[in-house]
């Protein structure tokens, strides 16, 4: 049977560590500090989400319905990838294994990525892309506000910087969701379909696990569920104005934060990582 990780396979790295420790022939593998591990994991979740979404929307470059929109999407992608650089650099620093942001972005495979599943959803049509962006921006904005008060000053300063950029992302995606939702019959239909399609991928943003609890206890990051109320309020406000119906279901696909991805991530990586895979170590 294939050995791809799934929900029931224990973490491969843990198994390796266990095996190395019981085999006396091998030197002991140092146990990473559990708290630092949760911290670097949290940074990967954040940096991978901005990286994968940034890459996704960069796919629109040269294809958007209007020049201004093309430029705007490319700029949002640029902001997200710039933020990725900051988050993944810090993730490498906290991890302490000497991995750079580029190493993390280009030299890991799908099961080591920790992005939210919503970030890897295919772009669909322009409305679908904007709805995904709005759902993400509304969460991202709240998250960065909370992270700006992080007990770790390195996290706080990145969040304060990124928060200013994301305020513009949210302003833009809110505007367009209203314009298209409360637009023509056709644009309204497409926006409602996008919202219905994406709804089950939004819940993952608010589901915490033991690692989230660990960083929350240390005041590094908020408990994911604490961001829900403000997010709901933003959605209520914008989607009502957009004449769109908020879906009722509460089912949420999850797993991205633990490395269990949909089939789409591999395709993203094969394009994004092509150069480093074909020409390892290439730089310019």
């Amino acid at each position: 049977m294939p050995s791809l990780p799934d929900m029931t396979t224990p973490n491969v790295a843990d198994l390796a560590r266990e095996a190395a420790q019981t085999a006396s022939a091998h030197p002991a593998v140092p146990q990473p500090d559990a708290g630092q591990e949760a911290f670097s994991e949290m940074l990967l979740r954040l940096g991978d989400s901005t990286l994968i979404l940034g890459h996704r929307i960069s796919e629109w470059c040269g294809h958007s319905p209007a020049l201004e929109e093309d430029i705007a999407l490319a700029n949002v992608a640029l902001d997200l990838i710039g933020q990725t650089q900051l988050w993944l650099s810090l993730a490498g620093e906290v991890e302490g294994k000497g991995r750079s942001a580029d190493d993390l972005a280009y030299l890991r495979d799908a099961w080591d990525f920790r992005n939210l599943l919503i970030c890897e959803r295919p772009n669909g049509d322009f409305g679908h892309t904007l709805m995904r962006q709005f759902l993400f921006d509304a969460w991202h904005h709240e998250l960065l506000k909370a992270l700006a008060a992080s007990s770790d000053p390195r996290v706080a300063e990145i969040a304060a910087k990124a928060g200013k950029e994301v305020a513009y992302h949210l302003e833009r995606s809110s505007d367009l969701v209203v314009r298209l939702g409360d637009g023509t019959e056709e644009s309204h239909r497409r926006m409602q379909e996008a919202l219905d399609d994406l709804w089950s991928y939004a819940g993952e943003m608010f589901i915490g696990d033991a690692k989230d609890a660990e960083v929350a206890a240390r005041g590094i990051a908020p408990d994911p569920s604490s961001l829900r109320a403000a997010w709901d309020q933003t959605l209520q406000h914008v989607l009502t104005e957009a004449t769109l119906q908020i879906p009722e279901g509460s089912f949420a696909h999850k797993g991205g934060k633990q490395g269990i991805h949909t089939e789409h991530l591999g395709y993203i990586l094969s394009e994004m990582q092509f150069l480093q895979r074909a020409y390892p170590g290439a730089s310019w």
């Binding site: 710039g82 509304a138 950029e165 305020a167 513009y168 949210l170 302003e171 406000h237």
Partner: protein, 173 residues
Amino acid sequence: MAAQTQPGVEEVWGWLSEVPDPEIPVISLTDLGIIRGVEWQGDTLVVRVTPTYSGCPATSVINLDIETALRRHGIEKLRLERQLTPPWTTDWISPEGREKLRAYGIAPPVDGTAADGVLAGRIARMTGTNLKIACPRCGSTHTEGISQFGSTPCKASYRCKDCLEPFDYFKCI
């Protein structure tokens, strides 16, 4: 020995004020407010630079330009540090810098137009209270926003309803 040949930090600031921004070459790096500190640490000159936007592709070019300029002035030991806190704000663009932007055709940032908060910006724009951005060409404030983003991450796209020209607005952050 080295100490006797060290130029003062004021002189270094003067040199940096002659280094143009690579994207908007009419203003200098000091006009833009991204040089946050210049100091000697022993025999090493340390220059602290803050990015305008975290993904600004000009950042590496800016660092290269700073290094080139300072080496040309004979600085041998040099270290560039990235400073994120406090985050860059358009408030740091000098009054001269704002005038240069306007003359170049880019509307300078207007205080109070930042997207600060979920809906404040949109409500302000919908009620028309936010449309005070003057066309850099004819001076009319009868303008409208086209997109929150423009030709670089730091700009938005606007259009003048009087002279009908599109223009870049250096958005407030």
